[in-house]
Protein backbone atom coordinates (compact mmCIF):
# COMPACT_ATOMS: atom_id res chain seq x y z
CA UNK A 1 0.00 0.00 0.00
CA UNK A 2 1.34 3.37 -0.97
CA UNK A 3 0.98 5.95 1.73
CA UNK A 4 -0.90 9.10 0.83
CA UNK A 5 0.99 12.32 0.88
CA UNK A 6 -0.38 14.97 3.20
CA UNK A 7 -0.85 18.40 1.68
CA UNK A 8 0.22 19.90 5.01
CA UNK A 9 3.64 18.25 5.15
CA UNK A 10 6.03 21.21 4.83
CA UNK A 11 3.92 23.26 7.24
CA UNK A 12 3.18 20.52 9.74
CA UNK A 13 5.46 21.19 12.68
CA UNK A 14 4.89 18.88 15.61
CA UNK A 15 5.33 20.60 18.97
CA UNK A 16 4.14 23.61 20.94
CA UNK A 17 3.90 27.03 19.33
CA UNK A 18 2.77 30.57 19.91
CA UNK A 19 1.94 31.81 23.34
CA UNK A 20 2.29 28.35 24.90
CA UNK A 21 4.32 29.49 27.90
CA UNK A 22 0.98 30.29 29.49
CA UNK A 23 -0.39 26.87 28.65
CA UNK A 24 -1.51 25.18 25.46
CA UNK A 25 -5.17 25.80 24.78
CA UNK A 26 -5.39 24.37 21.27
CA UNK A 27 -4.41 21.01 19.85
CA UNK A 28 -4.15 20.74 16.08
CA UNK A 29 -3.77 17.58 14.11
CA UNK A 30 -4.53 15.98 10.78
CA UNK A 31 -6.72 12.93 11.32
CA UNK A 32 -5.97 11.34 7.92
CA UNK A 33 -9.04 9.11 7.63
CA UNK A 34 -8.70 6.30 5.11
CA UNK A 35 -12.08 7.12 3.61
CA UNK A 36 -14.12 10.26 3.14
CA UNK A 37 -17.26 9.59 1.18
CA UNK A 38 -20.19 11.72 0.16
CA UNK A 39 -23.51 9.89 -0.05
CA UNK A 40 -26.55 11.68 -1.38
CA UNK A 41 -30.18 10.61 -1.66
CA UNK A 42 -32.79 11.56 -4.21
CA UNK A 43 -35.64 13.50 -2.67
CA UNK A 44 -37.80 11.10 -0.70
CA UNK A 45 -35.10 8.44 -0.49
CA UNK A 46 -33.34 9.89 2.55
CA UNK A 47 -34.59 7.25 4.97
CA UNK A 48 -33.28 4.47 2.78
CA UNK A 49 -29.93 6.19 2.56
CA UNK A 50 -29.84 6.64 6.31
CA UNK A 51 -30.46 2.97 6.79
CA UNK A 52 -27.74 2.25 4.22
CA UNK A 53 -25.39 4.35 6.34
CA UNK A 54 -26.40 2.29 9.37
CA UNK A 55 -25.73 -0.90 7.41
CA UNK A 56 -22.36 0.11 6.05
CA UNK A 57 -20.92 2.28 8.82
CA UNK A 58 -22.90 1.07 11.81
CA UNK A 59 -23.80 4.64 12.70
CA UNK A 60 -27.32 5.74 13.59
CA UNK A 61 -27.95 9.26 12.43
CA UNK A 62 -29.99 11.45 14.74
CA UNK A 63 -32.90 13.38 13.27
CA UNK A 64 -32.59 16.84 11.89
CA UNK A 65 -30.70 18.94 9.41
CA UNK A 66 -26.99 18.84 10.05
CA UNK A 67 -27.37 15.99 12.52
CA UNK A 68 -24.49 13.58 12.88
CA UNK A 69 -22.68 11.12 15.06
CA UNK A 70 -19.17 9.80 15.53
CA UNK A 71 -17.90 6.67 17.26
CA UNK A 72 -14.30 7.76 17.18
CA UNK A 73 -13.50 5.54 14.20
CA UNK A 74 -16.32 6.36 11.85
CA UNK A 75 -18.24 9.59 11.60
CA UNK A 76 -21.24 10.78 9.65
CA UNK A 77 -23.12 14.05 9.41
CA UNK A 78 -25.58 15.76 7.13
CA UNK A 79 -24.22 18.79 5.34
CA UNK A 80 -26.96 19.57 2.82
CA UNK A 81 -30.49 18.38 2.13
CA UNK A 82 -30.24 14.63 1.60
CA UNK A 83 -26.45 14.72 1.58
CA UNK A 84 -24.04 13.25 4.09
CA UNK A 85 -20.34 13.01 4.64
CA UNK A 86 -19.08 9.73 6.05
CA UNK A 87 -15.51 9.26 7.20
CA UNK A 88 -13.75 6.12 8.33
CA UNK A 89 -10.24 5.40 9.56
CA UNK A 90 -10.14 2.51 7.12
CA UNK A 91 -10.01 2.72 3.35
CA UNK A 92 -12.62 1.19 1.11
CA UNK A 93 -15.75 2.88 2.40
CA UNK A 94 -16.80 4.15 -1.03
CA UNK A 95 -16.78 0.66 -2.47
CA UNK A 96 -18.79 -0.60 0.48
CA UNK A 97 -21.40 2.11 -0.06
CA UNK A 98 -21.48 1.54 -3.79
CA UNK A 99 -22.73 -1.97 -3.07
CA UNK A 100 -25.60 -0.77 -0.90
CA UNK A 101 -26.63 2.62 -2.25
CA UNK A 102 -28.46 1.66 -5.44
CA UNK A 103 -29.10 4.17 -8.22
CA UNK A 104 -32.69 4.28 -7.02
CA UNK A 105 -31.59 5.61 -3.65
CA UNK A 106 -28.86 8.04 -4.58
CA UNK A 107 -25.18 8.41 -5.35
CA UNK A 108 -21.83 7.74 -3.75
CA UNK A 109 -18.84 9.99 -4.39
CA UNK A 110 -15.41 9.12 -3.10
CA UNK A 111 -13.60 12.17 -1.72
CA UNK A 112 -10.95 10.33 0.28
CA UNK A 113 -8.14 12.15 -1.49
CA UNK A 114 -10.00 15.34 -2.21
CA UNK A 115 -10.69 16.47 1.33
CA UNK A 116 -8.21 16.95 4.14
CA UNK A 117 -9.42 16.39 7.69
CA UNK A 118 -8.03 18.71 10.34
CA UNK A 119 -8.92 18.36 13.98
CA UNK A 120 -8.91 21.30 16.34
CA UNK A 121 -9.40 20.59 20.02
CA UNK A 122 -8.99 22.32 23.32
CA UNK A 123 -10.66 24.91 25.52
CA UNK A 124 -10.13 27.67 22.95
CA UNK A 125 -11.32 25.68 19.91
CA UNK A 126 -14.56 27.67 19.65
CA UNK A 127 -12.65 30.93 20.06
CA UNK A 128 -10.19 30.16 17.28
CA UNK A 129 -12.83 28.84 14.90
CA UNK A 130 -14.94 31.94 15.46
CA UNK A 131 -12.10 33.92 13.92
CA UNK A 132 -12.81 32.19 10.61
CA UNK A 133 -16.42 31.20 10.36
CA UNK A 134 -19.60 33.19 10.82
CA UNK A 135 -21.46 30.37 12.53
CA UNK A 136 -22.37 29.92 16.17
CA UNK A 137 -20.01 27.38 17.74
CA UNK A 138 -21.63 27.42 21.19
CA UNK A 139 -22.59 23.94 22.28
CA UNK A 140 -26.36 24.51 22.40
CA UNK A 141 -26.29 25.88 18.85
CA UNK A 142 -23.82 23.33 17.53
CA UNK A 143 -24.27 20.04 19.40
CA UNK A 144 -21.80 17.18 19.50
CA UNK A 145 -21.98 15.07 16.38
CA UNK A 146 -23.60 17.77 14.28
CA UNK A 147 -22.16 18.99 10.99
CA UNK A 148 -22.08 22.37 9.28
CA UNK A 149 -21.16 23.54 5.80
CA UNK A 150 -19.65 27.01 5.79
CA UNK A 151 -16.89 29.12 4.25
CA UNK A 152 -14.04 31.35 5.15
CA UNK A 153 -13.78 33.57 2.10
CA UNK A 154 -12.57 31.27 -0.68
CA UNK A 155 -12.21 28.23 1.53
CA UNK A 156 -15.24 25.98 1.76
CA UNK A 157 -15.36 23.58 4.70
CA UNK A 158 -17.53 21.05 6.41
CA UNK A 159 -17.18 20.96 10.17
CA UNK A 160 -18.30 18.22 12.50
CA UNK A 161 -18.25 18.67 16.24
CA UNK A 162 -16.79 15.47 17.60
CA UNK A 163 -16.51 16.54 21.23
CA UNK A 164 -17.38 19.33 23.61
CA UNK A 165 -14.04 20.95 22.74
CA UNK A 166 -13.28 19.19 19.49
CA UNK A 167 -14.09 19.83 15.85
CA UNK A 168 -13.13 17.96 12.67
CA UNK A 169 -12.82 20.22 9.66
CA UNK A 170 -12.99 18.83 6.14
CA UNK A 171 -11.33 21.19 3.72
CA UNK A 172 -10.59 20.92 0.00
CA UNK A 173 -7.16 19.39 -0.36
CA UNK A 174 -5.77 22.16 -2.58
CA UNK A 175 -6.68 24.78 0.05
CA UNK A 176 -5.61 22.67 3.02
CA UNK A 177 -2.12 24.05 3.42
CA UNK A 178 -3.24 27.66 3.30
CA UNK A 179 -6.00 26.95 5.76
CA UNK A 180 -3.68 25.06 8.07
CA UNK A 181 -1.25 27.96 8.13
CA UNK A 182 -4.06 30.35 8.91
CA UNK A 183 -5.34 28.09 11.65
CA UNK A 184 -1.89 27.88 13.24
CA UNK A 185 -1.48 31.64 12.96
CA UNK A 186 -4.85 32.26 14.61
CA UNK A 187 -4.00 29.82 17.41
CA UNK A 188 -0.75 31.54 18.36
CA UNK A 189 -2.52 33.94 20.68
CA UNK A 190 -3.70 31.12 22.97
CA UNK A 191 -0.78 28.73 22.51
CA UNK A 192 -1.16 25.59 20.44
CA UNK A 193 0.35 22.20 19.98
CA UNK A 194 0.56 20.25 16.75
CA UNK A 195 0.30 16.51 17.25
Amino acid sequence: MVERQSPLEPEFHVGSHGNFEHGVEILLTETRPGSIVQVAAWPGEEKKLISAIRTVAGLALPDGAGGGVSDGVKSVFGFAPGKFTVADEAEGLAAAFARVVTPAIGTVTDLSHGRTAIRIAGPKAEWVLAKFFAIDFALPAFPIGAGRSTTHHDIFVQIQRTGADQFDIYVFRSFARSFWKALCHASEEVGYEVQ
Binding site: A80, P81, R148, S149, T150, T151
Partner: protein, 103 residues
Amino acid sequence: MLITCPYCGPRDVIEFTYQGDGNRERPDPASQNFEAWNAYVYDRLNPAGDHNEIWQHSGGCRAHLKVVRNTLTHEISSVVFTRGDHGRGDHGSAARGKAEDKS
Protein backbone atom coordinates in the same frame (compact mmCIF):
# COMPACT_ATOMS: atom_id res chain seq x y z
CA MET B 1 -27.79 40.75 6.35
CA LEU B 2 -28.73 37.24 7.40
CA ILE B 3 -30.61 34.71 5.32
CA THR B 4 -32.20 31.81 7.13
CA CYS B 5 -31.35 28.81 5.01
CA PRO B 6 -34.02 26.16 5.52
CA TYR B 7 -31.29 23.59 6.00
CA CYS B 8 -28.43 25.47 7.66
CA GLY B 9 -30.30 28.11 9.67
CA PRO B 10 -29.50 31.83 9.72
CA ARG B 11 -26.26 32.60 7.92
CA ASP B 12 -24.45 35.74 6.93
CA VAL B 13 -25.06 37.03 3.42
CA ILE B 14 -21.39 36.40 2.64
CA GLU B 15 -22.22 32.70 2.29
CA PHE B 16 -24.80 33.32 -0.43
CA THR B 17 -24.73 34.09 -4.12
CA TYR B 18 -27.48 36.19 -5.63
CA GLN B 19 -29.05 34.65 -8.71
CA GLY B 20 -31.48 37.44 -9.44
CA ASP B 21 -35.10 37.87 -10.27
CA GLY B 22 -37.04 34.77 -9.25
CA ASN B 23 -40.13 35.70 -11.21
CA ARG B 24 -38.67 34.78 -14.57
CA GLU B 25 -39.96 31.68 -16.32
CA ARG B 26 -37.67 29.79 -18.62
CA PRO B 27 -39.47 28.87 -21.83
CA ASP B 28 -39.71 25.27 -22.83
CA PRO B 29 -36.25 24.25 -24.07
CA ALA B 30 -37.56 23.62 -27.56
CA SER B 31 -39.59 26.82 -27.68
CA GLN B 32 -39.02 29.13 -30.63
CA ASN B 33 -40.81 32.01 -28.92
CA PHE B 34 -37.98 34.50 -29.05
CA GLU B 35 -39.87 37.19 -27.17
CA ALA B 36 -40.22 34.79 -24.26
CA TRP B 37 -36.55 33.83 -24.44
CA ASN B 38 -35.46 37.43 -24.56
CA ALA B 39 -37.67 38.32 -21.65
CA TYR B 40 -36.30 35.41 -19.69
CA VAL B 41 -32.66 36.24 -20.34
CA TYR B 42 -32.70 40.04 -20.25
CA ASP B 43 -35.77 41.53 -18.65
CA ARG B 44 -36.08 41.80 -14.92
CA LEU B 45 -38.60 42.90 -12.38
CA ASN B 46 -36.85 45.46 -10.26
CA PRO B 47 -39.39 46.43 -7.63
CA ALA B 48 -38.87 48.85 -4.77
CA GLY B 49 -40.39 46.66 -2.10
CA ASP B 50 -40.88 42.93 -1.81
CA HIS B 51 -39.01 41.01 -4.46
CA ASN B 52 -39.00 37.31 -5.32
CA GLU B 53 -35.39 36.33 -5.65
CA ILE B 54 -33.22 33.28 -6.14
CA TRP B 55 -30.20 32.90 -3.91
CA GLN B 56 -27.77 30.04 -3.67
CA HIS B 57 -26.32 29.07 -0.32
CA SER B 58 -23.04 28.65 -2.16
CA GLY B 59 -20.94 28.88 0.99
CA GLY B 60 -23.07 26.33 2.82
CA CYS B 61 -25.33 23.52 1.66
CA ARG B 62 -25.30 24.94 -1.90
CA ALA B 63 -29.07 24.65 -2.21
CA HIS B 64 -30.92 27.32 -4.16
CA LEU B 65 -33.50 29.29 -2.26
CA LYS B 66 -36.56 31.28 -3.17
CA VAL B 67 -36.35 34.38 -1.03
CA VAL B 68 -38.86 37.16 -0.60
CA ARG B 69 -36.88 40.24 0.39
CA ASN B 70 -37.76 43.88 0.61
CA THR B 71 -35.40 45.91 -1.56
CA LEU B 72 -36.04 49.07 0.46
CA THR B 73 -35.38 47.64 3.91
CA HIS B 74 -33.57 44.37 3.13
CA GLU B 75 -36.10 42.63 5.35
CA ILE B 76 -36.64 38.99 4.43
CA SER B 77 -40.13 37.58 4.82
CA SER B 78 -39.79 34.09 3.35
CA VAL B 79 -37.12 31.57 2.42
CA VAL B 80 -37.86 28.18 0.87
CA PHE B 81 -35.94 25.71 -1.27
CA THR B 82 -36.43 26.22 -5.00
CA ARG B 83 -36.94 22.47 -5.19
CA GLY B 84 -39.97 22.71 -2.95
CA ASP B 85 -40.06 20.10 -0.24
CA HIS B 86 -36.63 18.87 -1.08
CA GLY B 87 -35.10 16.67 1.49
CA ARG B 88 -37.98 16.66 3.93
CA GLY B 89 -37.96 13.74 6.24
CA ASP B 90 -35.22 13.04 8.63
CA HIS B 91 -32.63 15.27 7.12
CA GLY B 92 -34.61 17.91 5.43
CA SER B 93 -35.55 21.13 7.08
CA ALA B 94 -37.69 19.60 9.82
CA ALA B 95 -35.32 20.30 12.68
CA ARG B 96 -35.23 24.02 11.92
CA GLY B 97 -38.94 24.42 11.61
CA LYS B 98 -40.59 25.93 8.63
CA ALA B 99 -38.37 27.61 6.18
CA GLU B 100 -39.30 31.10 7.12
CA ASP B 101 -37.42 34.00 8.46
CA LYS B 102 -39.36 36.66 10.24
CA SER B 103 -36.35 38.47 11.59
